[in-house]
Amino acid sequence: MQVFIAQIINGLSLGSIYVLLVTGFNLLLLVAMIIHFAYPQVVVFSMYISWWVLRATGNNIFLGVVAGIGSAIIFNLISAPLFQKVMKKREGVDINTTMVLSLGMGMIITDILSHGFNKGLPIAFPKEVVGDTSVLRIGLIDVSNGQIYSLAVGIIAVSLLFWLLYKTRAGRAFRAIAEDPNGAKLVGIPLFRTALGSYAITGVLGGVTALLLAVLLGTASPGMGEQVANKVLAVSIIAGLGNLTGGLIVGLLLGILEAIVQGYIPGSWANAVAFVVMLVVILVKPKGIFGMKL
């Protein structure tokens, strides 16, 4: 029973990471109308930039945080014109072209990380950054500060995002474009400028996710982005593409499922079980459990 509870806690902190990633992915899909398959790879890239700045500045955490978030925003904004150029029609999502473009970006990022940083070996964050200090211990249940940070920051970030979407003018513009791009254009909402705003917000979310991953895991590797990208896309499809609330629920559930399986099944089989579950759900319900918002 203690193992079960411990894994639920692990799952919630991991799930909060997935929720942040899926929320950013869905936001880009709804407002910028792109499928950014390489979004998790951008997050891993931000982790590497943060690590590099920490090493260069003698573990200056403030600069590491700024570098992590800043690099994600800059990368997203640089890629915005590329996506906008390849989209055939702004009124709908050009799934094929934007997905292929983001696959290309993912290839580039993964290979640069394999060659350009730490000779392709996994990186490890300094002890001051990694949140592995035990805050609460009851038998086998061990809650670390990293888990608390990821859960707390995840809740705050998603709450802020929902506040932005539902309580601000900018959020109303986002929702208007997501609902009906033509109608939004008619009432004078600038599509490209608003889409750029979504790239920037997703960049902030991505940077925050990168920092949380650094705190929670303490390491990163070039191939991490591909695996996470697969899970993020799977969660989005299972929840229903563009469904923010659905993504929240399924992201948390996936985190909990993975953690519980890892607690009882050894090694890499745990990952395979999570993928099998996702595969079965997608095969049975290719349009998602909660329905697509596209």
């Binding site: 094929n96 290309g104 290839m107 580039i108 499809i237 890499s268 290719p286």
Partner: protein, 297 residues
């Protein structure tokens, strides 16, 4: 024949066949990445049959084709008419699951892989020639079948689905059946390619079947031109051959080069270099020249 030439010709043929295996389902806007998992499954199965069960290469090759086709057919029952992103994610998850199963299965060498596959007919030089003959025969057969498909009613139906699935359905096109047909055939090709890929190197390792492979095939299709089969024929030898001429420090960055090329082509020349218009002009010119020669004779 020199070894470098053998590897160049063999791998180019694999690239052509596998890129066609992805090109076919993409005719109905499906990015069918399951083909890489098909390669791995059929390849490892063939290696196991040859090394452990001591069956002949030919039995293993035919089994590889059939197993690939069977897996493609079964999965296509569920995703034959699914949205593109669902097909993509099914492919990716299959690759992860396949890699995990192979990694943890000692019978197929686990993370070490399988090495020391025997030469066909027991002779290394004959082995290389046989592999090349099989590969290029496949290129001709598959190329011919794709050409007939593209110029048939089925090909036109596939084009209609690519442009607008709903309008295609309203014209009576059975979207699911065409999706199943294309996915099954593409998995069939991939199964055979998986067996041959391993027998080119006489070994099987998980590093042969990675996501980089998907990136390479995507680059071949989109840079060559995704609207016709000829783009793959032109792009595969160039994209595989050029990095071999670069100095090693540059060649090691070839995935970055492929990714950059893919993005540049999507932004600047979305249809690729070999477009349908170009192929049509060439076909017209060729038929005019043949006709003129015919009249002279």
């Amino acid at each position: 024949m020199s070894l470098p030439l053998y590897y160049y010709l063999a791998i180019t043929a694999i690239y052509i066949l596998m890129s066609w295996a992805i090109y076919l389902p993409y005719r109905v806007a499906h990015l069918h990445f399951l083909v890489v998992a098909n390669m791995a499954i059929s390849g490892y199965l063939a290696a196991y049959m040859v090394m452990t069960l001591h069956l002949s290469f030919w039995v293993a090759l035919i089994t590889g084709f059939l197993v690939g086709g069977l897996i493609g057919f079964i999965v296509a029952q569920f995703i034959g008419d699914a949205p593109t992103f669902a097909v993509v994610i099914v492919g990716f998850t299959f690759i992860y699951i396949t890699r995990t199963v192979i990694e943890n299965t000692k019978a197929v060498g686990g993370t070490m892989g399988i090495f020391g596959l025997p030469s066909i007919m027991g002779n290394p030089a004959l082995h290389r020639w046989i592999i090349l003959i099989i590969l290029y025969s496949l290129v001709l057969i598959v190329g011919f079948l794709i050409y007939r498909f593209d110029h048939s009613r089925l090909g036109r139906a596939a084009s209609a689905i690519f442009v607008d699935k709903n309008i295609a359905m309203s014209f009576g096109v059975d979207v699911k059946k065409i999706g199943i047909l294309l996915q099954t055939f593409s998995s069939f090709i991939a199964g055979g390619c998986g067996v041959l890929y391993g027998f080119i190197y006489k070994s099987f390792h998980l590093d042969y079947f990675t996501f980089h492979l998907i990136g390479i095939f995507m680059t071949v299709i989109f840079v060559g031109g995704y609207r016709t089969q000829w783009g793959v024929v032109v792009a595969a030898p160039i994209l595989y051959g050029l990095p071999l001429l670069f100095p090693p420090e540059v060649a090691s960055w070839r995935i970055v080069i492929y990714g950059t090329l893919l993005i540049m082509v999507l932004v600047l020349k979305p249809e690729g270099f070999i477009t349908r218009k170009l192929v049509y002009k060439i076909e017209k010119k060729l038929s005019y020249l043949i006709h003129r020669r015919g009249v002279r004779i």
